[in-house]
Symmetry: D2
Subunit: 304 residues, 4 copies
């Protein structure tokens, strides 16, 4: 008889608030599946054919390395998130998730807005349109922060007047609330699509505020939930590098051929990613190495 999957390490933090930013949080509400569910689904695909792949970790590494991502969809997680609207707007660009957000048409919004730390106020980058360069001096930063606070309070005061004094509809009252207003949502997604979102939103180019949420999900939650996948994700996505065809041409010329030849020999019986690296290097330096080994054998002949 089957049993529902259960991950004791994750069960322990169910419902716990991970605090993010000044007033936000992430809570795990529910989940389905674990590392073994991925193996189970992969095995139905490969059926009898993979009896030889004995180890779960090897199989998961293989799947993630080769982007056979459909078995990752077999795991699902549901979070309760409190976050500023401008972060929610970035978050919702990830369309392959299920979502219920607090409605400002139905509900009266609490006066809760995001106030950044002074240390996070940065000068507009000249080079990257979307980022910052260098922390703003304390005095200016303090002034900016004060103004964000003041402005947010004024907006909420007006909002309250609209709602309470003027009895204006909630749906129109809220239009003057600023984008740092906090909202809440239940958000449910499968592991494959979650990894895609986390890859983009933990990257250095993502805005710091959404990165805080993404890093918490990755390092505090996913790590407990599916530890084998987590390690594979770090190795094959976070720490990985991608070289274009043109860049590979360059890279080829930058290799130390002796060391490469040595590496190929030493790894001739390895499996998994080291074998694949070996094969790639062989292919990359193929002709040159062949010539070289021809020369070597010529030399050998001569020497013998």
């Amino acid at each position: 008889m089957e049993e529902k999957t259960s991950v004791p390490a994750l069960d322990e933090i169910l419902g716990k608030q991970f605090k993010i930013l000044d007033k936000g949080f992430i809570r795990v509400i529910d989940y389905m599946g674990d590392d073994s569910s991925i193996v189970q689904a992969a095995r139905v695909s490969y059926g009898k054919g993979t009896k030889s792949v004995s180890e779960d970790e090897g199989l998961i590494n293989f799947l993630i390395r080769h982007k056979h991502t459909s078995p990752l969809e077999m795991c699902e997680i549901k979070l309760h998130v409190k976050l500023p609207i401008f972060v929610a707007r970035q978050w919702l660009r990830h369309r392959t998730a299920s979502l219920n957000e607090m409605s400002a048409r139905y509900s009266i919004i609490n006066e809760e807005y995001f106030l950044p730390d002074e240390a996070d106020l940065r000068y507009q980058s000249k080079r990257h349109k979307q980022g910052g360069d260098g922390t703003i001096d304390t005095e200016t930063a303090s002034g900016i922060r004060e103004k964000i606070k003041e402005m947010s309070e004024k907006c909420f005061a007006e909002y309250d007047d609209f709602i309470e004094k003027n009895d204006l509809t909630r749906e129109l009252s809220r239009i003057i609330l600023p984008q740092n207003t906090y909202t809440e949502m239940y958000w449910k997604i499968d592991l494959h699509n979650l990894f895609h979102m986390l890859h983009l939103r933990t990257a250095p180019g993502a805005q710091k505020e959404i990165r805080d949420y993404a890093n918490c999900i990755l390092h505090e939650i996913v790590k407990l939930w599916v530890p084998i996948c987590y390690k594979a994700f770090i190795n094959y996505r976070t720490d990985a590098c991608h070289f274009s065809g043109l860049q590979m041409e360059q890279l080829k010329g930058l290799l130390d051929k002796e060391k490469v030849t040595e590496f190929i020999e030493m790894n001739s019986k390895k499996r998994g990613e080291m074998r694949e690296l070996k094969e790639l290097l062989e292919k990359l330096l193929g002709e040159e190495l062949k010539v070289k080994s021809q020369e070597d054998s010529d030399k050998d002949k001569i020497n013998s």
Copy 2:
């Protein structure tokens, strides 16, 4: 502290094989969420605004009646299904699901094929291109069944030869296997998309073989899993009728106005779907009823 949702009635059948067709089955492998998860997600949307909606069943009925389906996405179920390829091909048209199917490139396929019951062999309908009309006489049916068996066996014999004698690749050997060959898959979907699939595949126009699977999922599994949603689905989808604008025009003329007036009066204080029916009827017969009640009051004046 939160706990993972759990539905004891469904836990009892986890892993159990529901037999479908001659050799197929459906097994529930895992699930997430229950009726209360839908309510929970809906309440975050409507926030404080819905404190007055006290009853879960009322809220779920409201959501399903008005197609506010996003909270239904908060429930997820994972099935293990064994089914003939021609059924799988219909099933996979539902794209909003996750799936791992047995691969005939990796695995050697067992000799298992679907052999229909004689009683299910029907004459091609003249009127509906896609269906059947009337059961084929026993003798012919028996002959057809025998031929399906014979043909399937021959194909499998050839397949085995290709694999074992000729050592031909599995990926090409399988191309002569017939479409009644059984395959297996893990299939995971949320409740909203499942309901959409079940609505289409339990309908009388669906092919009998996929209907058997859909009916099992609906009446044996969903009923245990989310009983309130199940009842709402039957009432608002299965048993519901949809009238076009033109049909409504006709329907208007077929109503018994006295009975309608009486119904409107008797349901003046109802809530939920009876109120909505009342409001629809009022709108539908609006002018005529107004005229009528004017005449009535005129009569009343005269009579008094």
Copy 3:
């Protein structure tokens, strides 16, 4: 040789700004497919089997009436939309579309915000949490409008200071901009998913501001693009009514049986939706009608 589909009536308005709200707009940028593309795709499904369905309009009506919606996905449209953020947030809940929105991380936002007409300022409804009841008196409305203007201006003034004086990152400066700030997007969707969105967002329960956009798309754009589908949509979705199983039970009791019998007789040879209505009524009143006609024929015997 095939040619790209082209709809002259739609070509004429390509790029034209349909003005929505005070500063918003919708422009058609590009499109693919027309009514005939739907027929073409449907015919590949039904192949030889449907040679008899000679008329395109009949086939499209059939498809939309019976929710065979996949051929509608064969048509695609791309719009350029300028809209306030609070409208964009509702719009983006429709996930089955492609989207590129102006980024306030990259760009400096122009001082453009939505200012509602006084006539659209309404009192919060007591009954429906999400809507309004009755227009607010002119004086109060004028005051509210003035305050929305004042508040929006203040926010933008602060935003400009952050950007220009303090050189704060754009991505953080924008967090105090209100939700009535205008944004722009390119938005691309297929006809099936567009119809789903339009059905929800032209409904009376949708917020007035998004309804304005949805109505423009439906009645100004879709009507020109796919006129047969447009008519079918109005008849089978906008003007249609949906009765639950329980409501159908009630409805049955409200019919005038004589008129129904007459209707059934008169429509005995009709096709399409009138035949389907006839069949539904027959089923609905089946037993009673049978009994009745038995009585009638008994009477006839007596009378003869």
Copy 4:
């Protein structure tokens, strides 16, 4: 005034049959967008902020290199494809497309089945479960091919009997047709999702038969349609290599540090992917280079 996008080179082949396998084909039916549509959509995102990115090709390269793929979704193509069922089953795993396939419930299937070339019959690979190793000897191959033909003909003969003699429903008659039976579909997808599918299905691990279709779409169709994207796809996807964190550790040790230092100096003012490679190498060899340059400067001191 806008105009519909049009790509003359693609218009010329609209409707043309590209022959694939023995009886299959691909035809372009319609399309929307071109390279410039991607630039247009990307520019709305980055707004004023990217006025400086003057060149379309540079922007497209940037988008594809950094997986900012949403603007690619702005292009859409519709194909008419004839293909064997076992290929269609692989094809349909790509769920983010629209599709209308010939229905064997509605239509009578023509006797058309895929018969592989003898040269494509290969021995089952011992190492890769899903592939082949080495071509089967001519005589055996000829025998296999003959048997596939014979078996397919028998299945079709039985099918015809079921349909014509027994008047069995089409939907059940077809269950004995083999998986090499040809089917047809209209298939519509956006460029981002098409690239994902083509990346997987042109890879060496994909089955030869679907690779033939994928290569035709990529090199005969996409190349004409969006030539800039095509080149970027080849460079950043097809020819690209992906190194895991562990592999990068190894790679670091295999570099020729002198050549790397030289490369970094020579590319100090490059833009685009060469700058990014330079930055990556700097980061990769950072400490060592620093140490080295320290040593160098020490040497310099000594030498001076």
